[in-house]
Symmetry: C4
Subunit: 320 residues, 4 copies
């Protein structure tokens, strides 16, 4: 009795799980998207967790970021211009008083000159209220640009590896058997070192009418390289021990097979640890193919790596 | 004799200790508070260690931080305004000389315009002393805002995981035995990877009339996941080897039992290593319960995780 | 013959070395100073390596740092003031032309107003040369304060653990033998986790008339704690296997014995890894002592740790 | 049959590979250059990956960086000056209208005063268009200097170890055999700890007419030191197990032998992990030499390390 308990507990302990659990068995839904993101949407987050302001401002596109800065600048100036207008533009010396529109615009430009602390002084505040708002605006401006300084640094200094993965994984002849292969390359000229990769295979298995997702880690020919200077073809030999042994394109499609890749390396410029995930769904797998070489020797000072060839392969017949 | 020595030394070496030592046996006092902080207060710190300025300014609430900046701005301007007033406002051209109050306010606003380096110039220093103080103030302002820039960056870029823990730990039926369980989830939409968790159990044991706190690490069904996309239920099976075997709510209360959790993961946005501690006191334990599912499949593009359900459980009967 | 070769190579491979090598056998010279620094001075560094500007500006005292900023500000303004004076102060409108001294000071303050970008405009450049220098000065000022912003952030954000070590290491009775002990505590209220410590013993050994320094790592009762909330007494039991077995104060003095400590932990505020080294020379060792407790239970919400007691011990007699 | 499959797969799995692959067999081309960079040039990068702006601006020389800032400043001011000139300098009050050249220069200096936010106000915008451009320019200036602030911080705070390697590796007598040796030293006065080093040997091997590059990791006498205070001589004993056993200068030249070094350590100032690569080509190897000592004991407070002697060796005869 106790034996059985232990053995059940032991068995569950040995089951592999990447962290997705067994319940994700939906036909139409991948576990990891093309960008390497987990395919899970959260609801019921607190406002702060949902907003996640810094992260969001760090990860949005540059064009969006620049546009947001300009729009914020416009809004703040409109807000403060309105404030000065309400206080009365007569408290700003130098304003063109000819008509309300030019008054407002001069208030607007005075605001811009205060927010950026350029403060030409052609327009300047007199009296308590206008001076007070201007003092407050200059402080706000400094805090805002302090924040933007931090954001710019954060955006640029964020470890941002550009690891390219071949569009398809392939099943290729390998030694006297076949192998699951894909390749990846560092697109940037940065030095990446101590690169490790792990490859997991997931499929849905039905038992007693219950569909559960199961995970298997696939043994690699080589899971770490000290240096990552060129393309690296990751190879899982389909020996008899492999969970892929005997599978076909059809059988993999039937069980919603997905291949998940985790990589980790060190970008030498800042000694940043960089991570990247990728996933190949079973329909992105080419059966019977061989990657074309990317490296060229030009008998010159350095080797040449042609990144445009990363996705290229030739169709070949597999080993029996 | 030597055998005994060795065996005593060996035995002590094998005793587990999380770092709290054996002396913390007070009935009313937890080891780790609800926020995951150590429940120890320091006295006799040096001023510098007590102040811990940067840390303090990084960890206070945003509202407090903003308020402190404004108050500091006010104080600095009052200080410099007084200085200019003492030097004589006649050394500031453009000051409204009609009465002392307006003189002081103009000195105040001149100070604000110098500190922020907006420097409209409507009011400007003439003569050595006023010019000197203004030159010093502008430098101080720049250093102050340089510091605030750093603080803002530090506050935002600090690894700040929002790991939610279920309010209660539960004793739930598990396979053909029972298990101690709690669950946790990443509240943010950031990707957390390589998440590890360790669970320790502590109780007070009396021996020869001396109460000592002892620590036991609890074996987990799974102590690491590569990815942390959804909720993760951490499971310690109460087999015969478990220190919890045969315990009841009453027996745990008697020995001041506390369960301590350490987690570590990598937030992928910045490749930050993030740590989080948590603790369940014995009175936060529900005997005979089962967590309600949080994940929903909507047969759509992505899975849905409802964070509001993290604390929810159903009462069930335990395995014998 | 080959056997012998292998055995010599193997033996050398097994010799412990902390990195100081065997040649540091000078009587008067410690390996590690009281501040945990290596006691080695470099000559023949390149200018850049010697200057090590950023590191130096990050690690100097705050008072020195502030003084340097002020002196640099003064020097830069004197330099630019001289430049404006050479160009001719008549190219600065608003300068008090009454005498050369006031001319120079107005040039000086104009420089300060340009460098800080406060730019009141009471004094302003006219003509190409003065305008050009002013444009250059404003740029220099911005770059300078950009640099100072970085320095301030670097100074504050640098992992700066304040680990206090007991002034003396002690030889104390321990179980039924004796032990080498010292203790340490985190002076700040930050949470430090995953703290590890290693203790090495070094002495000079003479063989065939050659004095060589040898190193021995000492086994600890406990070399890692998950949490570091209170004082931690590090214990090396002097069993028969210990290189300290049978040693006395006199015998240790004779061989220039030094005990070297390396600690590593994670400061939880920023998930910074922090390192600290320390060393006890043989004359800092108290034979026959016991540390006084530092932790107090006040039956209140939290435990109290009195840091002032870290160095306190009672003299006791040792086990035989 | 299956046996054979497994054995081939197993054999390939055991082949060492640093990440360069087997195809880099060109005679004239090193794998790692003198600066420790991978000798591979990428073509076909995306523009963004090629530009790699932040990395580039962080790693260029200081003189280039400063020059680029000045040139950018000049270009931006010329651009905005042209804009103001097109709008009409009559919209800038205070401009010297005497001739087009002085008009342009005043527009230029007004631009500089806006970009740096110094804004004296002697020249100031009036009217919508000029004011609008000025408001936009001040914003651009702030963003630009925010960016430069980040760059300066990034440049300075980047982990930048200065590990010096001896110009030559040597084959030296060692115990009763010979050894491959080189030495390295930390040129800066920073404390480097937990230093590890790995040494790999690569040669081209021909098999069935195919030239393949093979890699062998060389066993070191010592591959880690806790502290790195002085010079460290890395030693690979050429025992019978060594792939260098029986090799000569000629035989190594024939197979394009290259020795590759990877080091990793922790710079204690910021707890930065630092990496450094180096490579000795077979023609940089001195057969029969011994390094001269660098450390001096002056019976004073500290030991003296003379960095100028790092490359110095004496010729000696090798063990048979």
């Amino acid at each position: 009795m106790i034996k059985k308990k232990d053995s059940l507990v032991e068995k569950e302990r040995n089951r592999q799980d990447l962290g997705f659990g067994t319940k994700m068995t939906d036909r139409q839904t991948r576990l990891i998207t093309g960008n390497g993101l987990f395919n899970v949407r959260r609801v019921g987050q607190s406002f702060e967790a949902w907003l996640n302001l810094y992260n969001r401002l760090i990860t949005i596109r540059w064009s969006t970021f620049i546009a947001m800065v300009f729009i914020l600048y416009l809004i703040l100036n409109l807000f403060f211009a309105s404030l000065y207008y309400l206080i009365g533009v007569e408290h700003l010396v130098g304003v063109n008083m000819s008509n309300p529109v030019s008054q407002f615009w001069d208030a607007f430009f005075f605001s811009a000159q205060s927010l950026t602390t350029v403060g030409y002084g052609r327009i300047a505040p007199v009296g308590f209220l206008a001076s007070f708002v201007a003092a407050f605006e200059a402080l706000s401006g400094l805090m805002l640009f302090a924040f933007i300084t931090g954001l710019l640094y954060g955006r640029f200094s964020r470890p941002n590896p550009r690891i390219l993965f071949s569009r398809n994984a392939i099943i290729a002849p390998y030694l006297d058997t076949n192998a699951f292969m894909f390749r990846m390359v560092n697109e940037k000229s940065n030095q990446i070192i101590n690169m490790t990769v792990s490859l997991d295979f997931s499929r849905v298995e039905e038992k007693n009418g219950v569909r559960n997702r199961q995970y298997y880690s696939l043994t690699l020919e080589r899971s770490k390289v000290n240096f990552f200077p060129t393309n690296w073809t990751i190879v899982h030999a389909i020996t008899e021990e492999s969970p892929l042994y005997g599978e076909t394109a059809e059988s993999l499609a039937e069980v919603d097979a997905e291949f998940m890749i985790s990589t980790e390396g060190v970008d030498d410029t800042f000694a940043d640890v960089v991570h990247k995930r990728h996933s190949y769904f079973n329909d992105e797998l080419i059966w019977g193919a061989k990657f074309k070489p990317m490296l060229e020797t030009n008998h010159d000072e350095s080797y040449i790596l042609d990144l445009r060839k990363i996705h290229n392969y030739d169709l070949v017949s597999l080993n029996p």
